[in-house]
């Protein structure tokens, strides 16, 4: 999709210039996707619908991490902790404060934005593996913090918080699953649109410039610390919204559902889907949602083994993920059809 022109032009890896797919094709693909998304809940079972909802939620989270890793070149292994922060913010506001569930989503996003911005501010001084290390520690510490006695009256300690799933308003004939699915899809569509616009704009170009050449970027007048912290904040906001939606969709939060593995899920989604692509978030989310189910039938350890394999192999063979692979195939095909002028 033309959303990622800015990154493609300067992307470090592609050995062939990637063609810009036609705008008409992209619009058609998006319309087709939206149509499928709109019709799906009328045909599928409730279980499938809730799976689809979770996939879309994961896609928001993966998109958030991709903004940071793919476009800004910073790594985070701590997005599981931020996802947990979003989920707990929503759950506490609903259960302890009594706010309406829909009102908690923007609040969770805002809380995570502030947290991400503040965490990103000192952390941006760290490069590469040091940043990975700091965020890794954050992800490991998160479940312990959530279980802490001092916070127990808010977080419910080890037990977590149980919520009631929201019902469709105005007497619409939708099951809770269908209703939640539509809400999630709308929010996701809006957030994808926002991400696309951010990346086309001044901030997005600054992000990519920093990824490619931080020193040159700062010489060109990009405020590197500000942009980095901002990216961390925006990325956290996406993940926080995903966390809030996830808490509402599963109607339950507990410390042990936010371990290290959530961060790894997101990372796998980013890498497999396509680093530095917007549509890759959807592919990555589909992967992390459905592949473990399939692999689980083989062995308890199989899902992580498959994740590991995909992480390493796709870094080697398709560093731009599934989306990058499809794109380069597409451009190769069209290039053959139309000889170079």
């Amino acid at each position: 999709m033309s959303a990622v022109d800015a990154s493609e032009r300067s992307s470090p890896t592609p050995d062939k210039p990637i063609r810009k797919p036609g705008r008409a094709g992209a619009v058609l693909a998006i319309l087709g996707l939206l149509t499928i998304a709109a019709v799906l809940p009328l045909l599928a079972s409730d279980y499938r619908i809730s799976q689809a909802t979770m996939t879309i939620i994961m896609a928001i989270g993966v998109l958030g991490l991709n903004l940071l890793v793919g476009y800004n070149g910073q790594i985070s292994l701590g997005h599981g902790a931020i996802y947990a922060l979003g989920a707990y913010t929503a759950a506490i506001l609903i259960d302890r404060v009594g706010l309406a569930w829909w009102a908690t989503i923007p609040i969770a996003g805002a809380v995570c934005f502030v947290f991400g911005f503040l965490f990103g501010w000192p952390a941006l001084r760290l490069k590469g593996h040091y940043l990975a290390l700091a965020t890794f520690a954050l992800a490991l510490a998160a479940p312990q913090l959530l279980k802490d006695k001092a916070l127990e009256q808010w977080t419910g300690g080890v037990q977590g918080i149980v919520l009631t799933p929201p019902e469709a308003p105005f007497g619409w004939a939708l099951s809770p699953d269908q209703w939640l699915y539509y809400v999630t899809t709308l929010i996701a569509a809006a957030m994808f649109l926002v991400a696309w616009n951010i990346l086309r704009g001044r901030l997005g170009r600054a992000m990519v410039a920093i990824r490619e050449q931080p020193i040159a970027a700062s010489a060109m007048g990009v405020n590197v610390p500000y942009v980095k912290a901002m990216t961390f904040g925006i990325s956290s906001m996406y993940t926080g919204v995903a966390g809030a939606l996830g808490a509402i969709a599963t109607a339950f939060v507990a410390p042990d559902s936010f371990g290290m593995f959530v961060s790894i899920f997101f990372l796998v989604g980013v890498i497999v889907g396509g680093i530095g692509t917007i549509s890759g978030a959807l592919v990555g989310a589909l992967f992390i949602q459905f592949v473990p189910d399939l692999a689980d039938q083989v062995s308890k350890s199989a899902p992580s083994a498959i994740y590991a394999l995909f992480l390493i192999v796709s870094m080697r063979l398709m560093p731009t993920g599934v989306v990058g692979l499809v794109r380069s195939l597409h451009s190769r095909l069209t290039a053959e059809r139309r000889p170079r002028s």
Binding site: L133, Q144, K300, S304, M315, R316
Partner: protein, 277 residues
């Protein structure tokens, strides 16, 4: 526990010395080696023979992982390499779970139950552990500082191009560094297993303290890693007992890591790195 942190921290320092990367899979590799040791013991080998076998296995495994998994990514940006390490981290964990199962198992200690001289402050195992760690750090220091191979390893990490020009087989040195590091890691695994029980997730908490220890002491200094390990061990237990309670111990490690990275990124005993642009 400080000794264990120091030991795994040493392994991290070793890899950093030879490749300038931080190995996130270090703990898991140590865990895997410990399972190998458990297998040797079950088949009736005496403890120290299994110890040697495990260290040898750790060396070969580290060497092989560098050759097979890491080598293709040599010239990739740092972010990609971190991703590969994470892949390795969950991969080794999954493999161990697949092969050895997920049950907890006790693991024997080679040292007598009671400490000598009737002290109760410290157990026999802890005392033995400290001795082992000290022996390892002395050996490692001597190896890096006084042998030709050690010098070659340090040179290849510092400046691969010049090293190659002066006739050092750089890629072999990198693999060798991985082997040594993985061997040290397996010693750490053997030392920690009697305390925390043998389990696929036994290294999760230890690893993060080892990071804290290595960073605190300076990631390029073996003695620093030991000092850092001891400090982190003491701080962890004091804070756990008096300040935050045992549930929040991991957050202490988080604070140490972030604090060190912010205030003094080169650690207490590390050298400052100046990058030329």
């Amino acid at each position: 526990m400080g000794g264990v942190y120091a030991c795994l921290g040493l392994a991290l320092v070793m890899i950093y010395q030879s490749t300038n990367h931080i190995n996130f899979a270090q703990g898991e590799m140590a865990m895997f080696s410990t399972f190998i040791a458990a297998m040797c013991l079950q088949s009736g080998m005496p403890y120290w023979a299994s110890f040697l076998a495990t260290v040898a296995f750790g060396f070969v495994a580290g060497f092989a992982i560098e050759r097979i998994v890491l080598r293709p990514f040599k010239d990739m940006p740092e972010t990609s390499i971190v991703v590969v390490f994470i892949g390795l981290y969950i991969g080794v964990n999954a493999l161990a779970g697949w092969i050895f199962g997920h049950e907890l198992a006790p693991f024997p200690s080679p040292f007598p139950e009671k400490a000598p001289f009737g002290t109760t402050l410290i157990s026999g195992h802890e005392l033995g552990m400290i001795a082992v760690v000290l022996a390892v750090v002395c050996a490692l220091y001597a190896f890096l500082r006084f042998t030709r191979v050690g010098l070659a390893i340090r040179a290849s990490a510092e400046n691969p191009v010049s090293s190659r020009l002066s006739g050092i087989p750089v890629s072999l040195m990198v693999s060798l560094g991985w082997g040594v590091s993985s061997a040290i890691g397996s010693i750490a695994g053997l030392m920690v297993a009697p305390i925390v029980f043998l389990d696929t997730n036994m290294m999760g908490g230890v690893l993060i303290y080892a990071f804290a220890a290595a960073l605190l002491g300076g990631i390029d200094n073996p003695w620093g890693a030991v000092a850092g390990g001891v400090i982190v061990g003491v701080v962890e237990n004091l804070a756990g007992a008096y300040v935050v309670g045992t549930e929040l111990k991991l957050s202490v490690a988080l604070l140490v890591i972030i604090g060190v990275l912010l205030v003094r990124p080169s650690g207490l005993f590390g050298r400052k790195l100046v990058t030329r642009v």
